[in-house]
Assembly symmetry: C2
Homo-oligomer: 195 residues x 2
């Protein structure tokens, strides 16, 4: 039996993921977002790259079969399961600045950015090195005519998941998102397991 790990609401974690292992990110209650980062465990200057990935995939809608590339154009992760088919790879993790910008009336929160920065610090990954995350379940439609984007509630239902196989030894950062807009105004945990 494989244990499922709980990431409590508005928090984050980091862990090693060996080459060949599969990380399954689960939305246990539905309509929650998990920001995912990946770094080469042997050299953390190699990092997941939205720009490389979108270029090679020729789409902003990544799903089953798509590969997530590093800034060195190497495959870090392959999506091997996806019950949702709607994720975001355009936006950086929410941060205290995001809260001040979008939610001036709410108490500011360090957000996924702050949670990732703390979780990744033991791996010698500095906050400035946090790039655009692969935002599991995040629903960011783009208007093809105007280019305008919106952050809408995720399409994920309780129990939905995305599975990613590591193609190199990785350090993963993963959160249960803290921003009201990305999860329909509620804060919920994220589960994950490694097979």
């Amino acid at each position: 039996m494989i244990d499922t790990v709980v990431i409590p609401e508005r928090s984050g974690t980091a862990f090693k993921l060996d080459k060949g292992a599969t990380l399954t990110v689960i939305d246990p209650r539905g309509e929650q977002v998990a920001d995912l980062l990946a770094f080469n465990a042997e050299d953390v200057r190699e990092v997941i790259s939205s720009g490389r990935t979108l270029d090679y995939a020729e789409t902003i809608r990544l799903t089953l079969g798509n590969k997530l590339y590093s800034n060195r154009s190497r495959v870090m992760l392959t999506i091997v399961g996806d019950t949702v088919g709607c994720h975001d790879f355009l936006l950086t993790p929410c941060s205290i600045d995001t809260f001040l910008h979008f939610y001036p009336d709410l108490p500011p929160h360090r957000g996924c950015f702050g949670n990732l920065a703390e979780a990744l610090a033991p791996y010698d990954i500095a906050p400035d090195a946090i790039p655009i995350a692969f935002n599991c379940f995040m629903n960011v439609p783009v208007d093809g005519q105007t280019g305008k984007l919106k952050v809408l509630p995720p399409l994920s239902k309780a129990g939905d998941s995305i599975a990613l196989r590591a193609e190199m030894d990785l350090i993963i950062g993963l959160t249960a998102c803290s921003a009201p807009d990305s999860n329909g105004g509620t804060f919920k945990p994220i589960h994950y397991r490694i097979d």
Copy 2:
């Protein structure tokens, strides 16, 4: 009289841009792309961020009046002139890996990535620190339904330009793009001036 500087075809350069100065990037022949990077001149770990910028602007189509943010959520540049209105901020600079992927039958070229890496090296900016560039004049429509993106010839005509005012002291990297798809299959120079 302000001198115009020529960036020869398939090459790149880097230079300091003082706070308050305006950089005008000119497409002298039309249908050419210039990849633009910006770093805080006082601390090059602060770098232009597509993810922050798209999040705050709520659009992927940046033009007159939009601000380009750093990874620390500070404004680096403001777009103060734009005769085209179509630029890309999704894709990383073309590189030798891009050429091997998209143009397997052409002689590979180090691309904008290699040109930027060489130009930025004297400023202690490593290749791994090159993020998604603001790709002036690059025409990357996204299908709002499917998410698919295409790289089409730029909409810029000969003499078109975009002007950006520096909101902090910056190091700028700038290229005349090397990838056939981004400029309709031809290679042309880019001009710029600083006012």
